[in-house]
Structure formats: C-alpha cells, structure tokens
C-alpha cells in the first residue's frame, strides 16, 4: 500500500495497529514524547503505570494470558533500564514482549547525552532479539520482524531502541515491506521417524510419565496431550509453568513435580521407566541431582528449541518441532497402553501422601488457597508472586485452562504477580483474576494499585501475610540452624488501609472461620480491585520438598527432626 507521509513515531503506532495491539503499558519522558504524541491519534489504549518495571510485568501478564505479544513503551536511560527485570522475567519464561524505548538523538549516541544509556547493549543477554533504529525507513520492517520474532517459535522479548530524531523523521512508510531475517528459522513438524521411535518407546513402557511444560501451553498442545494421555493411559505431571497444559483436575493428573511438587508426582518420576517431556526444559528445580534424575528411565524430549537438547539431560529420543504438531502425529501411532498396575500404584501414593495441612490451630495459607480453589471452581486466572505463597498456590489452586496460571518461574521475580494480574485482567475483562502475592513481593510493585483502580479492574489481590520473607526464612530454618537474617518484615503497612488510601477495597482474614465468607465477599466485589489480607501463621514451611540439587528419594514430607544438610544446588 502506497501510504502518505508519516513521521517515525506515527509509523511505529501504525505498525502496532497492524499487529492488533490493544494496550500499551507505558511511561513518558523526553525521548519518547513523539511516540506518546502519536498515540493520541490511535485507538490503542495507553495504560499509564507508576513504574516501568510494572509496565513490563503487565505486558507479560497480558502476553501469558493471551499468547499475543505485550507492548511496553518507555523513555531512554532510567526508563528503559527499569524494564530490564521484566525483560529478564519474560526471556526466562519464553514470553513474547515488544519493548519500545525512546533514545537520545542519533548524533548524541555514545556522547553520554542526558538520559542516554546503551539500552540495546544492556539488553543483549536478556532478549530474544533487539534493535537500535538508525533509519526511519527501517521502522515498518523492524516492527514486523519484532512481533514475528517475539511471538513465533520459542517466544521471547524483543527490544526496540528509537532515537528521538528517528521518531520525528518524516518519510513514506512501506508497510508491505518484507522481513529480512535469514538467520531466523523455526522448526514446525517433527521428524516422523523420530516420532515413530517415540511411539514405539511409549508402547513398550510399563511405567510411563508425561511431563508437560510451558511449551505445551504456548503451542496449544493441550488437546493432543489429553488425547495421548487418555488413549495410552499415561499419568501426567506438569512443571510450574506447565500448569494448565493438562487439567490438574483430570484423573490422570499428578499435579506439579520437582522441588515443591506433589509427593505422588515425585514418586512417579522416581519410579517410572519412561519420561516424556513435552515443552519443558528440565529445569534444575525439576531435576534435583542431574546425574541421578530418572537414571534408569528412558527419556523423550520434545522441544522447539534445539539448544535445549543435551543441555541438562541427554534424551534417548529428541524430537525437534512444535509440541502440538508432534503430539498430534504421535497420536496416530500410539496404541492403547496397559498401564493399570502403574496407575493403581500412583492411586495408592495419592491416597497415602496427599497434599495436606493442619486444619486446626492458626490460619494456614494452604487453607486459604484450598478454599480459593474451591470457591473459584479451579477456573480463575491465578497470577502469583514469588515465595512460599507461590508454591502453595501451585499446589492447591488447580489449573484447568491453558491461560489460567501466570507465575515467574525461570527468573523468580518478586513484584511480578500483581502487575501481571493487571495485564491479564485487561485482556480478560470478564474473567475472575486473582493475584496471590506475599507481603514482601507485593510491596515491590504495589504502586500499581493506582493503575488497577483507575482502570476499574476487579482484581482480587490476595496477600498471604506471614510477616516474613517466608521462603528465605524457611531455608534459614531448615538449613541455617534457624538463624534468621534479613527476613523479618516488621514494619509492613496495614494492607487494608493501604487499599483504602488508593480508593480500593480492603478485606482482612484473621481466622479459619473468616475464610469462606470473606473470600466469597471479595469474589463478589466487582467495583474495582480489592486487597484481601490473610494474616497467616508466621513460620509455616512448604512441603513436600526436594532440597536443591538433591535426589528424588531425599524428598521430605515434613520438617525432619534432625538438621538437614545444606543444599548443594545453587539456590
């Protein structure tokens, strides 16, 4: 299409519109003012945040809950560097973002100009790709490439640095221009011979396990995985990010595995004779002691990223391709399996070692989350922060839908949960969105309460308040002789009053008897965001636990009497 003369900023906004962008999460400054100006003439809605990190997590929550790239617009220097944590978070979890940063004018690049930072340089280790635009004519092509690279294959963040002189250059954009990315190819179909080999291995296995990860969600492999599991009667476990790839309420689901996974999933993994990963990268939270992991089991690895093969483990069969297409093809070869004995064994473990908590006594986070799961019929979008509450939410809030679980896994970024919930609620105005956060992490991005209030987003912010940096405190208790160092959150604000200060609603849960009633009231409160502060027992610990870097058979179900060895894994 021959187009009229536009300036660089307008061309950027045009490109966003062509990519069906609904929201931009942003914050203005000198270097991006032309783009903010162009935004006024576009139907794209600006979500003005209170901190750029918040913008990056909101875009991330939008992206995780839709599969579409989330868009961030920030200014140069500190505006851009404030998004780096969010970019890392997205990169580690394969989330598509397009981050547009203002930059000083091109003649000033490298001269330590006001608010100059070499942002594309800073971004290199934490992006899928990045651009510094030097010529306005490149804008349509770069924008096209950015969305394509962010969303396709193994998704990830793409950063675009836009010098201000480029944003005001007038030119005739060619929006039909071709992309020029000869170095970028994405695997699609798996190799049929490999798939047949995998089918044969599965058919021969007596004690198989399917391990589903984020890749299964990204590629929409859920239906195919369900068909495979049902047809061959294979039990399924999921990673933290794989929650929702296969309904955790399905009879064949064992829930999450790994460091804080269910005992029965971990026992199944310890005893299986075959494990097939579908879009999981065998993260160290899952492997424990790498050399010992499923030592005697056959391993099949389906991944769209060839760099994941042989990285953590050496699979017996690796299949490069899109998880959905691979499993669909596999389903044409798989035979109904006889795994009755294996399933019966797992049923026994489920009965004998269920997830549990003490129902009497002080208020337990697990009870609050268990009840949240019941009241929401496992059908809310749950966005978590990082810490004990995250692990309890992963255990007790069963995920049944593809886009219903948002959690920072790879980076473990505190401050993620609440802004990510904002992005998800904007994308899904009619869905129930709950941010499950800790009293520590919430305070890292709580300024975004304004953003939620202004946009009348009915997010339920459930603060599991244990008055501690609970997860770190747990490690100090178990591995450092109860020597608490820097984990006491004395001085926390009154969270109900904090809500009120932002003109949001506040609820407080103090006792077991309050839980059902107050959660119900909060779920029914839809005028805007509300905080539900649950004052839980201060020193409870998350179990089961496989200490970092330890073998599966060293899983503990409750706090051992004797002191535990310091973990050998990194964190």
């Amino acid at each position: 299409m021959a187009t009229k003369i536009r300036d660089g900023a307008q061309a950027i906004i045009d490109s966003l519109q062509q990519n069906d962008v609904e929201f931009i999460f942003g914050y203005p400054g000198g270097a991006n003012m032309p783009i903010f100006d162009a935004l006024l003439d576009s139907p794209i809605k600006l979500i003005l945040v209170r901190h750029e990190q918040g913008a990056s997590h909101m875009a991330d929550g939008y992206a995780r809950s839709t599969g579409k790239a989330g868009v961030v617009l920030v200014t140069s220097g500190p505006g851009a560097t404030n998004t780096i944590t969010g970019i890392l978070t997205a990169q580690m979890d394969s989330v598509p973002l397009v981050v547009i940063c203002g930059q000083t004018i091109t003649p000033n690049l490298g001269l330590d100009a006001f608010q100059e930072a070499d942002v594309s340089g800073i971004s290199f280790p934490v992006v899928k790709h990045s651009y510094l635009i030097k010529n306005a004519n490149d804008i349509p092509r770069i924008m096209k490439e950015a969305f394509y690279i962010a969303e396709s294959g193994r998704p990830g963040p793409v950063l675009i640095d836009v010098p201000k002189d480029i944003a005001v250059t007038r030119f005739q954009p060619d929006y039909n221009i071709d992309m020029q990315i000869p170095g970028y190819t994405i695997p699609i179909h798996g190799d049929s011979a490999r798939i047949a080999e995998a089918a044969d291995m599965l058919n021969k296995a007596k004690k198989p396990v399917l391990l589903v990860g984020h890749g299964a969600i990204i590629s929409d492999a859920g239906k195919a995985v369900k068909a495979l599991a049902e047809q061959m009667q294979i039990p399924v476990t999921n990673t933290l990010l794989g929650k929702g790839a296969f309904s955790e309420n399905h009879i064949l689901s064992m829930g999450m595995l790994g460091m804080h996974g269910t005992a029965y999933a971990n026992m199944a993994v310890l005893n299986c004779d075959l494990i097939m990963s579908i879009g999981s990268r065998w993260d160290d939270r899952i492997l424990g002691k790498t050399d010992e992991f499923c030592k005697n089991a056959k391993k099949i690895h389906v991944d769209i990223d060839p760099a994941e093969f042989n990285k953590m483990i050496i699979p017996d069969c690796s299949i490069l391709g899109d998880a959905r297409l691979v499993i669909e093809e596999l389903n044409t070869m798989a035979q109904p399996g006889d795994t009755n004995d294996w399933l019966a064994q797992i049923e026994k473990w489920k009965k004998k070692f269920p997830l549990k908590y003490l129902k009497k006594g002080g208020l337990k986070a697990q009870y609050v989350l268990d009840e949240l799961n019941r009241l929401t019929k496992s059908d809310a979008i749950i966005s978590t922060d990082v810490g004990q509450h995250q692990m309890w939410a992963a255990q007790f809030c069963k995920t049944t839908g593809r886009y219903n679980w948002l959690s920072s896994g790879g980076a473990g970024t505190m401050g993620f949960g609440f802004p990510a919930a904002i992005g998800a609620q904007l994308a899904h105005p009619d869905k129930l969105v709950v941010a499950v956060v800790g009293d520590g992490g919430f305070q890292m991005t709580s300024a975004e309460l304004v953003t939620a209030v202004l946009n009348k987003l009915p997010i339920k912010i459930l603060i599991i308040n244990n008055k501690y940096l609970g997860m770190v405190r747990q490690w100090q208790a178990l591995f450092f002789d109860n020597r608490y160092s820097g984990v006491d959150l004395a001085g926390n604000p009154d969270f109900v009053k904090l809500a009120e200060a932002y003109h949001a609603k506040g609820f407080r849960i103090k006792r077991n008897a309050d839980v059902t009633r107050i959660l119900t009231d909060a779920i029914n409160y839809n005028e805007g965001p509300c905080i539900i502060e649950a004052e839980v027992e201060k020193e409870d610990n998350v179990f089961p636990m496989i200490p970092s870097g330890a073998t599966y058979d060293s899983m503990v179900l409750e706090r051992p009497r004797k002191k535990m060895d310091k973990p050998v894994g990194s964190t």
Binding site: S120, G121, F124, P125, K128, H129, L132, I149, I181, P182, G183, Y184, D305, P306, A307, F309, N310, K311
Partner: protein
C-alpha cells in the same frame, strides 16, 4: 584435526550489522569459553560476514555454544569444524632482533618456512609467514631462540574442501 588444548575451529556466517560481534562474544563469555582468535571479514555478499573463531574449552560446552550461536537472529549458521578436513590458513608477521652476523642464519630458517622477508633494518628483520597454525607455532618456537621483538598473527581462517560449504 587440531585438538590439542581442546582447541576448536568454528565458522560463522552472520549478518553484516553493528552489534553482531558482541552478541556472539557474549555467548562464549557466558559459558566461560575463551576466544583464542577471531577473524571477521566481508563475504561474497556484502549483507553478510564470515567469522572464523578458534576457541578452547570442553567439547560438551561447545556443543551448547554452537546451538546458542545458531539461535541468534543475526547468525545464519555456526559450525564447529573440529575434526573435519578443512583448509585452515593463518598469516603472521614476526619482527626479530637480528644483527648483521645473524642475518644469514635467520634467513636460512625463514627460507625453510617459506617466509617472505618484508622489512630489514640494521638490527631487525621482519618475516611474513603463512600456513596452518602448527607451522606458525613451529616458526615461533624456533625464532624464540633469537629475540622476538613483536609478533602479530591474523588468526585462523577456515574453508571447507570440495563441494562442502563452510
């Protein structure tokens, strides 16, 4: 062929753009892999560059590095040629201290290595040598007997033989 000291010969075909070299170097640095030599040059097509890298470290880590390099949007392909039969060449300039009395002796050695004498002064001699890296290493060792004042090596360039592409 050359795998003493865990040394690997890697060729890359990449976009000819600013920043590409940093992205590549970061992949090596992140895994603690040392780049021993690096040659970047234009390719037949001006949009792309050729890189030849020699680096040392464990083979298993290198496998991962090669995959990570191939993942970079700016890299069209990265290949480890270690153990393959490829043409590898390198050029070096060596400046040695050389009195008039030593001249004949040094020139004899240099002839053996098919060096060109590119500069002579009253007390120095500059030799240019090309060939595979082993040959250059050997010359270096022998010349060390005299006083080497300066040495500059281009780093190894690699090309696959016959129909195979690099």
């Amino acid at each position: 062929m050359n795998n003493k000291n865990n040394s690997h010969s890697i060729s890359l075909f990449v976009n000819n753009k600013p920043g590409v070299l940093i992205r590549i170097a970061l992949v090596f640095a992140r895994r603690g892999y040392n780049i021993d030599s690096l040659v970047v040059s234009p390719s037949r097509d001006q949009h792309f560059s050729r890189m030849s890298i020699t680096a040392s470290g464990k083979a298993k880590i290198l496998e991962q590095i090669i995959k990570q390099l191939n993942k970079l949007v700016d890299v069209l392909h990265a290949t480890d040629h270690t153990g393959e039969i490829v043409v590898e060449k390198e050029l070096a300039l060596i400046k040695v201290e050389c009195s008039i009395e030593q001249r004949t002796e040094i020139l004899q050695i240099s002839e053996h290595f098919k060096c060109q004498t590119v500069d002579i002064s009253g007390n120095t001699l500059m030799l240019q040598v090309t060939g595979n890296s082993d040959k250059l290493d050997a010359l270096h060792t022998i010349m060390a007997k005299y006083k080497i004042l300066e040495m500059v090596r281009t780093g190894k360039i690699i090309m696959a033989r016959g129909d195979a592409s690099t």
